[in-house]
């Protein structure tokens, strides 16, 4: 690192950290140095070892080798208690909050002032008010966690760290669950914290966040630290190359769509979930041949239910037509098998729960949903040889690595798992492809590949309905964008006629006219 102004001892210095889990080396001889009062980004693909490194810093794991120096002092961090004592606070990707406790109770948990609760709560209430004023971190101290939004919950996590007088704040993929507006607000808070002298480590896989928020950035690839650079002296393309190890195309390469006749028509579709809550509140949509309709929205606004009802995984009411023919929304003929028979393919949002059986071989997973196919039958038995041959073809075509059909699904990386699911669905040559979060937890290289396949299907004149919480993905892939909020379609836009700001407002429920 060529820092000209070495003004102070580094807030954190890691020297030669190594950590293995069995045969997998998650961190190889990693050294970084973070100057106090800066925002330092750590970027890398899934499985690059970012989270492992931060877990070591927070005392979750013990490094096999290496030293941790905090403010110029060699520090042992055997557990979270030691990390807290050393002034380190961590905001995990999956929040560590007690759902049925109040904000205040969550904040004092583990940092109480004595055996009795009331004095601790009273003191925390006062401190919280001061912190809220200082950093614009407003939350109702008496609200119960499960009743507040994720953005608020994240603030509670930050407040927890500040309440423990953290000087160093680590945030792991903090924007995954936030709307663009909430994310912007978060970054304002982070800058505020930085101005007050706090040191922030931001772990993300989003290049844009690194470019916008950080002062310096370290890139990790396959357990190694490949580079540490000043953010102002780099570019997204350069960072992506460092992450993947080769040149990557960040934007999806596609020709303009030539939409044809309507393939899927949705009229007044409503979905009520198991708890009796209406999740989809009467929506109308049309997806045409040769176009990708992207559904944008913050997670939990009915997109999942929309996909599931179209895929035959849950009942709904209203009407849907495929190629002009009505499909039942409940009762016989509305299940996933009937949908597949009607040439609707579905790449579900949660591939580990709905797309794959993690314990089963790849070749078994390649058949699921299509195991009735006569090509896979041999009398009353499955023709496993044919199935395996088919799997090998798909593995080759979709570049699944390792190219071994006998491997259990759980032993593939996220990107390769997704390739197995996408291969299974796209290779059926469906009229309509439903895709949910196609690249969630997928590395950049595989994202590029999966996006290409989806666009190729579109170019064959098929219809694609894409649901994604990643606006970047929506902008990159979709030919038309519909925004969902609270079970309603807030509006439809063409990608070149709108921007993230407008979509962000729609995603937050501000209607087009008011915006």
């Amino acid at each position: 690192m060529e820092d000209k102004t070495i003004k102070a001892v580094p807030a954190i210095e890691l020297k030669g950290i190594s950590k293995s889990f069995g045969p997998v080396q998650a961190n190889k001889n990693i050294s970084i140095s973070v100057a106090p009062g800066t925002i330092h980004g750590i970027i890398g693909e899934n499985g690059a070892g970012k989270s492992t490194l931060m877990s070591i810093l927070y005392g979750f794991y013990k490094a096999d080798k290496g030293e941790i120096w905090i403010k110029g002092k060699k520090t042992e961090i055997p557990d979270s208690q030691a990390a807290i004592a050393a002034g380190i606070g961590m905001v995990f990707q999956h929040f560590k909050l007690v759902q049925n406790f109040t904000v205040l109770e969550n904040i004092i948990l583990g940092a109480e002032d004595g055996g009795l609760l009331q004095p601790s709560l009273a003191k925390a209430r006062k401190t919280l008010a001061e912190l809220a004023a200082e950093y614009e971190l407003n939350v109702n101290p008496d609200a119960v966690i499960e009743e507040i939004g994720v953005g608020q919950q994240q603030r509670v996590e930050i407040l927890k760290a500040l309440y423990r007088q953290a000087e160093i704040l680590i945030l792991d993929e903090p924007t995954g669950v936030l709307t663009p507006a909430e994310a912007d607000q978060l970054f304002r808070i982070l800058h505020r914290l930085k101005d007050e002298g706090k040191t922030i480590i931001l772990i993300t896989h989003k290049l844009r966040e690194i470019m916008e928020a950080t002062d310096t950035v370290s890139v990790m690839r396959r357990g190694e630290m490949t580079a540490t650079v000043k953010t102002s002296e780099t570019s997204p393309e350069h960072l992506a190359e460092l992450m993947v190890g080769r040149k990557v195309l960040l934007r999806v390469d596609k020709v303009p769509a030539r939409p044809g006749k309507p393939i899927l028509e949705i009229e007044n579709l409503r979905v009520v979930d198991e708890k009796g809550v209406e999740r989809v509140k009467g929506i109308d949509l049309t997806v045409r041949a040769g176009e990708i309709l992207g559904i944008a929205g913050v997670a939990g606004n009915g997109q999942s239910e929309l996909l599931e009802v179209l895929g035959g995984m849950r009942p709904g009411s209203g009407a849907i037509r495929l190629n002009g023919r009505a499909l039942p929304l409940s009762g016989p003929g509305s299940d996933a098998r009937a949908r597949r028979a009607a040439h609707v393919a579905h790449v579900p949002e949660d591939r580990q729960r709905e797309g794959l059986i993690m314990e089963f071989h790849a070749w078994e997973n390649v058949a699921f949903g299509y195991h009735h196919d006569p090509a896979y039958q041999s009398g009353i038995f499955m023709n496993n040889a044919a199935l395996r041959a088919d799997t090998d073809r798909k593995i080759e075509k979709f570049d699944v690595r390792p190219a071994d059909g006998w491997l259990a699904a759980k032993n593939f990386s996220g990107g390769n798992q997704q390739k197995i699911v996408v291969a299974r669905e796209i290779e059926r040559n469906p009229d309509l492809l439903l895709v949910g979060q196609p690249t969630r937890g997928v590395d950049i290289g595989a994202i590029e590949f999966i996006h290409k396949q989806i666009v190729a299907l579109r170019d064959q004149g098929k219809a694609v309905l894409l649901v994604s919480v990643e606006l970047e993905e929506i902008f990159g892939l979709a030919d038309r964008i519909a925004v969902m909020f609270d079970g309603h379609i807030m509006g439809e836009r063409l990608p070149h006629e709108t921007d993230e700001k407008e979509l962000g407002l729609l995603m937050a429920g501000v209607s087009g006219e008011a915006a």
Partner: protein, 321 residues
Amino acid sequence: MDFLTIIQVLDSTVRLATPLLLACLAGLFSERAGIFDIGLEGKMLMSAFFSAAVAAVTGSVWLGLLAGIAASLVLAGLHGLASITFRGNQLISGVAINFLAAGMTVLIAQDWFQQGGRTPSLIGGGRFGPIEWPLAESLREFPLIGPVYSELLSGHSILVYVAFLAVPATWWVLFRTRFGLRLRAVGENPAAVDTAGVSVVGLRYAAVAICGVLCGIAGAYLATALQAGFVKDMTAGRGFIALAALIFAKWRPWHAMGACLLFGLLQAIALRFQNIDLGGVVIPVQVMDALPYVLTVVILAGFVGKAIPPRAGGEPYVKER
């Protein structure tokens, strides 16, 4: 039914609810910390035997009580070891403890006392005697208040009062102390406790130990206060009824007391009114004996509504990234 009969049934309710209440609170501590415990029955049984045996041998009920608590604690430690340290299945560990206790108690009793798997009957200082409240005798004839005071409130063994005082104590510990906050948190989301720098393992062992102590008191009460000595399988499913009461109470101390009193009342009625004659049709005693258990099922199936157990209950805690 006259007033005195009602008072007597209620008095009997209090006595019969006591072991249920102690076991229920024991389960409450354990399950609030995320450790399911179907071994309440086994712990009570083990304690019942050792308290009776030691009281019989030494003639001191207090030594008996300590022995009972110690025996129950050993089993609690076993459960902790299996489910916390080795992250085993909590239900299987609980079942094992129940079997272990059912077999061991009779085996040791036979080997020790040669009385067919019982302990000798406890007499004098070997039993917890009733504690008469001041003026209980002179107030007895006073209408209404008299019987309530001297029959219902006064004249129970010390362990009955301990059980009922344990209710507000439990509430206070759970909701007013740091320990209680952490205990509840570890049953809901142990990761939150762990990242806050507090030991999940330590908290869970503490909860399991408290559970052991309370089960120990419950067992000792059965053998040295409610009855005078240990007999085979004397807990008679009380540990399971306590679990039912715990679910009925949705893991809340005051509600647990209500639920245990209700189950105690059912048992008291069954004891008091055997062979009820309903216009020529005699309801056999077996039906009355089975009634509390049948009603347990009915109440649990129909009247509890949605009981949400502590979210991390039954799950061993494994650190994850």
